[in-house]
Structure formats: structure tokens, C-alpha cells
């Protein structure tokens, strides 16, 4: 009995450590794919797919920097990707194995150039903006029909927030998204890396802090959909998904998303292969599968995020491609800003300030 147990344990340890050629481990954001695609991938390629999810770039980054994460494909956002490339966390892509890369959208490739020059280490999966989601009925009930739902004044003016507090406001727990928004509202450069400039936002945050129910980066989807909160500052597709979930539940909740008119952060989630991926070949097969216009269109139609695939556009649903909240028009696109990673000293100051804002200490 004991002996057979030992053998089993040893065998499974061996299996876990061994790179099986017919297996690919993907680590992606939560609520970020049409799960039907996962089955389709396994059927088409015969490769076993192990799919795990995370809800913060920080968790992914720590796993990557610790080394030996065991994942073959990961999906960091642009700024994090840039830093991780510098740390040597990714292997260069072999474009000979990625014939579908010809479908990529040059506009998005040009914008992601800052993070990953020449797309040497990553391909774009989805991109979106960070903005304001509102429960239309509740917000107009509180602030009247002229409520500034497309302006950062909704969340940064204490008099608005004081009234919204009762119906619930959630903010992202992501300082790298919140400080640029605050700086944009103050008319400063959202991508400022100067700790003194960033510190100027403290007063504004402290004034509205008592009215924020929670800082969290994924709970707001359900909270908005259930009508538990009326305002969330979050990611475009997540808020649109909340609206879609509410519609499906037929609970009468109507959700609207707006990229703030003062400027909105445009971000890119990039698929990359860790330097120590056990199965880089299978990872390339997965990336190529994702860049198939039909597959990435199915993903976008499901998660309500725009993708970086030009050829997928004709296959998108009208309420995805036709929605300026997902595929912004020229005017909105011009109003979007991007950010670059904080150097480590600024990062410490930013995290510390964020803790101070959240906890008062």
C-alpha cells in the first residue's frame, strides 16, 4: 500500500515536472474569453489546454519574476510587459510558426510598439479603455438627468460622490490606472513619473475616499450587474459585460460605459510566451489559433473588448464593432492616452500613496 502510494506520488511529480508535448498552459485574465474557444482549440489541435485566470497584473508579474511559473502563454498589459521583457521574462516569438500574424491590425501594432518594439515578444490579444460605468437609472435619480456620466468630474468631485455614495461606488484597485485618471482630470500629464506631481492627487482622492465603497479590480462586474453599486471606475469591456449580464438576467438594470472626455487610458493586453515555458511549440500553436479571425472575433463578441486583429472586423457583431465604447471613433481615439511603466523608486512612492489613500495610513 505504502509502496504503491510512493510510486504514484513519484510518478505524478515526474509528470508535473516533465514537459508534455501535447499540453499548453495558459494564464489569462478572468472573464476574458469565450470558453467555447477552449474546447474548440483542444478539438482542432489535439493539444490539452489548461486554462487558469488572474485578476491583477501584479500577481502575474510576481509569478513570472519568481521563475518557473509553468505557464506557456501569459497575458500581461503593455506597461507590465515592457518591464518584464527588460527582466528577461519572455522568449522571442518565432513568426514562422505564426502564419495568422498577417491578420494583425497595423494601428494597434503601431501603438504597442512602445512596449514591445517590432512585436518581437508578444501579440495583441485585446485592448480597451479605462473609464466610467454607471447604472443609468440610479445615477440620474441621484444627480438628475444632466449627471456628468462621461466626465471624470462624476467621480472626482466630492459633491457628486457624496450623493452617489449611498448607491455604491467601486474603484479599480490599480494605482497605475487611477493616478493617470486623476492627473488627467487635474490637467497634468497622465503619464507623469514625477512623484511630486503624482502626490498632488492625494488631496483630491482624500476628499472622495469616504464615498468609495470598495477598491477592487473584478468584483464590480457582478456588483454593477446586480444593481448593488451604481458607479464603477473600471475597464471598458468589464463594464459592458456587466450590462450584458444584467440584460440576460432581465433585472431591469441598464449599464452605460463612457471613456471620460478629459482623456481615457488606452491599454493593451499582450499574449507572450515566458522564457522558461515548458511547451513553447504548443504555445505558438495557441497564439496562432487566437489570431485566426474567426476565433478572436468569437472572443471579442463574447467579452465585449476590441481586439488587435484587422481581419476579424467583418466577423464582429454589430453591437461590438458598432459600439464606440468598444471600437472608438476617430475623435475618441485622439482623446486616449497611453502610459509607460514607473521606475522602481516612483513605483514605491505610488504604491505607498495608494495605500495611504485607501487606508488613511
Amino acid at each position: 500500500m505504502t509502496k504503491s502510494l510512493v510510486t504514484t506520488v513519484a510518478a505524478s511529480a515526474l509528470l508535473a515536472g516533465m514537459a508534455l508535448a501535447d499540453e499548453v498552459r495558459v494564464y489569462n485574465w478572468s472573464d476574458y474569453i469565450d470558453e467555447g474557444l477552449l474546447e474548440k482549440f483542444e478539438e482542432e489541435t489535439g493539444i490539452d489546454l489548461i486554462y487558469d485566470v488572474f485578476d491583477s497584473n501584479e500577481v502575474l508579474e510576481t509569478k513570472l519574476l519568481a521563475g518557473g511559473s509553468g505557464y506557456d502563454v501569459v497575458v500581461p498589459s503593455g506597461t507590465f510587459l515592457q518591464r518584464q521583457i527588460a527582466a528577461g521574462a519572455f522568449q522571442p516569438l518565432d513568426y514562422d510558426m505564426l502564419p495568422n500574424a498577417e491578420n494583425l491590425w497595423d494601428v494597434i501594432q503601431a501603438r504597442t510598439e512602445t512596449y514591445d518594439p517590432g512585436g518581437a515578444h508578444s501579440i495583441n490579444y485585446m485592448w480597451g479603455t479605462t473609464g466610467i460605468g454607471v447604472n443609468v437609472e440610479k445615477v440620474t435619480e441621484v444627480l438628475g438627468p444632466d449627471a456628468p456620466i462621461d466626465s471624470l468630474s462624476l467621480i472626482f468631485e466630492p459633491e457628486n460622490m457624496a450623493q452617489l455614495a449611498d448607491c455604491g461606488v467601486h474603484f479599480l484597485d490599480a494605482p497605475a490606472e487611477m493616478f493617470p485618471a486623476a492627473l488627467a482630470y487635474m490637467g497634468e500629464d497622465p503619464d507623469s513619473h514625477d512623484p511630486d506631481v503624482i502626490a498632488q492627487t492625494e488631496e483630491m482622492f482624500t476628499a472622495i475616499r469616504p464615498y468609495v465603497q470598495k477598491f477592487h479590480s473584478s468584483e464590480y462586474i457582478n456588483a454593477l450587474a446586480n444593481g448593488e453599486i451604481c458607479v464603477a471606475f473600471g475597464w471598458s469591456g468589464d463594464i459592458l459585460q456587466a450590462g450584458w449580464r444584467a440584460a440576460e438576467a432581465e433585472n431591469g438594470v441598464e449599464i452605460a460605459y463612457n471613456a471620460p472626455k478629459e482623456g481615457a487610458l488606452m491599454w493593451f493586453d499582450q499574449m507572450a510566451i515566458p522564457a522558461d515555458a515548458p511547451n513553447p511549440d504548443a504555445a505558438h500553436v495557441f497564439l496562432n489559433f487566437i489570431m485566426d479571425p474567426e476565433n478572436i472575433a468569437a472572443a471579442s463578441n463574447y467579452v465585449y473588448y476590441a481586439n488587435g486583429n484587422e481581419a476579424s472586423k467583418p466577423l464582429l457583431l454589430e453591437d461590438v464593432i458598432g459600439d464606440p465604447a468598444i471600437y472608438p471613433d476617430e475623435a475618441t481615439l485622439a482623446n486616449l492616452y497611453t502610459t509607460t511603466p514607473y521606475p522602481s523608486r516612483t513605483q514605491r512612492a505610488v504604491t505607498r500613496l495608494w495605500t495611504k489613500i485607501k487606508s488613511g495610513t
Binding site: 491583477s56 501584479e58 500577481v59 508579474e61 510576481t62 513570472l64 519574476l65 519568481a66 521563475g67 518591464r83 527588460a86 527582466a87 528577461g88 521574462a89 494605482p175 468609495v212 465603497q213 470598495k214 477598491f215 446586480n226 448593488e228 522564457a275 522602481s344 513605483q347 514605491r348 504604491t351 505607498r352 495608494w354 495605500t355 495611504k356 485607501k358 487606508s359 488613511g360 495610513t361
Partner: protein, 296 residues
């Protein structure tokens, strides 16, 4: 020989699962952060032999511990964690003692069943049990619906995302660790001692205070340590049930490790936490030993 081997087993265990990991953490706490895999420097390179080792040692310093004293965040977080852990322990004792007492007084044929019921929650994942409290405590949750339904309150109570929810979560999670040792102590209690006390003119209440409580002291102390120690470093419960103002050292450690990517400072925070915990652990050990000596 066999006896020595037997003694060596727990020491090997301690060496492999405590001392070596601690030395690794201590080593990292003396390093500097760097953008690399792993994200700190220096790393030990055995290939360079003794010279490499001394070179490595010379690069270590106590800078990160000095840093902890410069920002009041850290000691406030330690203090707040101590407070939350201490109050949770007290609450768990107040709830757990009557349960353990009732179990020990129950008819002997019922005791295994009652014991089973206390252990039963462990069959479900800890995470799921904490998550279920979100469903109970939220403004739209079962507790508020119930209280609104019977008309006790007219506005839903805000419990979730506050320290109150953290206390509920900790007390709920660690309650069995309080009940079991107290039950073990009470079960051994000789009933004739209580009879003697009553014969000698003690009321039932004073017999409880003068006989039962002192005799269950060992169980109370063991229970308190078993709740206090894990509660102090608790991370999951405050992050799921607590609000942003809930300041606990586990969360500060998380921020250092994940948001700042500063493993050296995170390790320094962990080392200090361990030093704080060593005090109650040593007290606990000493108490155990004294107990054993007293029992002969």
C-alpha cells in the same frame, strides 16, 4: 541509537520546514531589489566557490530593516494586526468556551457526534466558507434580508468590507481551534471535584469560576494561541471581507511583494512578523512544559 533517531526526526522536520526557509527569507531581506529573475540581488553563485560566497556576504546589509522604521505604515500595520488578532481571540474564547463546556457536559454517547460537528466545516474548502460570508453579510445578503424582513432594521447594515466582517470571519474560521483544546481539558474534569465544591458551600456559579475554569486553563491557553498566531498574519480573510481601511500586516506584505516587486522589503516585513510571533510561541512552549512537569 533508535532513540536518538526518534529524537532526530522532529529536529530534522524543524530544520527542513522552518529553519531553512527562514534563512532563505532572512537572506532575501538583506538583499536589494532588482529588475531580473529572481527580482533581487545579490544571488548566491556556488560556482565561484568561497570567494563568491564572501563577495555575496559583503553585499548584504540591514538597509531594509532601517527602511521599516522610517515609515509609520509598518508599525501601525503590526499594531493593528495585533489588535485584530487579540480581539478575535477573545471573541473566539467567549463563543468557544460555552460550546466546549456544553459538549463536555453532554451525555457521553453524544460527544463523538458533537465533536464531529465541530470538525465538519473543515470538509469544505476554507476559501469557499469565507466566500459564503460575503453572501451572508453583503447589503443585499441573507442577514440584511432577514433583519429587514422581521423589521429589526429599516436600512440595510453595512457589515461587509468593514473590520466587523473581518472579526466575524476570523472568529468563525478559527473557532474549532478554540473549542477542541478546551473540550479536551473539560472532558477530563472530575465531576466529584464539583460535587465537593458544592458540598463545601459553593454556589454552582462560584464552583464554575473556582474549579472548572482553573482546571481548563491549559485548554484555554492552548486555544488562544492556536487562534491568535494564525490570525495575526491572516491575509485571505481581511482581503475578502475587510474594507480598504482594514490594515493588517499580511496585506502590507502582499503589497510589498506584488505591487512594489520589492522582495527584500517584503522579506524584512516577514522576518519582523516572525520575531513578534516568537514571543507568544515561546510563552506557549514554556506553559506546555510547566504543565507537563506539574502533571509529572
Amino acid at each position: 541509537m533508535g532513540r536518538r533517531l526518534l529524537i532526530a526526526v522532529p529536529y530534522l522536520w524543524l530544520l527542513a520546514l522552518f529553519l531553512i526557509p527562514f534563512l532563505i527569507v532572512l537572506k532575501i531581506s538583506l538583499s536589494d531589489p532588482e529588475l531580473a529573475i529572481p527580482p533581487y540581488t545579490p544571488t548566491l553563485d556556488w560556482r565561484e566557490g568561497w570567494a563568491g560566497f564572501t563577495e555575496f556576504l559583503s553585499q548584504l546589509d540591514f538597509e531594509n530593516f532601517v527602511f521599516l522604521t522610517e515609515d509609520d505604515l509598518y508599525w501601525k500595520a503590526y499594531l493593528s494586526s495585533l489588535q485584530i488578532a487579540a480581539l478575535s481571540t477573545l471573541l473566539a474564547l467567549l463563543v468557544g468556551y460555552p460550546i466546549a463546556y456544553a459538549m463536555a457536559r453532554a451525555a457521553p454517547e453524544w460527544r463523538p457526534t458533537l465533536l464531529m460537528l465541530v470538525i465538519l466545516p473543515f470538509w469544505t474548502s476554507f476559501l469557499i466558507r469565507v466566500y459564503s460570508w460575503i453572501g451572508i453579510l453583503s447589503t443585499e445578503g441573507y442577514l440584511n434580508q432577514f433583519l429587514l424582513g422581521i423589521g429589526v432594521i429599516s436600512e440595510p447594515l453595512t457589515i461587509l468590507n468593514t473590520n466587523v466582517a473581518v472579526y466575524i470571519g476570523i472568529v468563525y474560521t478559527y473557532l474549532p481551534f478554540m473549542i477542541l483544546p478546551i473540550y479536551a481539558a473539560l472532558e477530563k474534569l472530575d465531576d466529584s471535584l464539583l460535587e465537593a465544591a458544592e458540598d463545601l458551600g459553593c454556589s454552582r456559579l462560584s464552583a464554575f469560576w473556582l474549579v472548572t475554569v482553573p482546571l481548563s486553563k491549559a485548554g484555554i491557553i492552548a486555544g488562544c494561541f492556536l487562534v491568535f498566531i494564525p490570525a495575526l498574519g491572516e491575509f485571505v480573510i481581511p482581503s475578502l471581507l475587510g474594507g480598504s481601511e482594514t490594515l493588517m500586516i499580511g496585506k502590507v506584505l502582499w503589497e510589498e511583494f506584488f505591487s512594489n516587486r520589492d522582495w527584500p522589503v517584503a522579506s524584512a516585513v516577514a522576518v519582523v512578523l516572525l520575531l513578534i510571533l516568537i514571543v507568544p510561541i515561546v510563552l506557549f512552549q514554556r506553559n506546555e512544559q510547566r504543565q507537563r512537569e506539574a502533571e509529572g
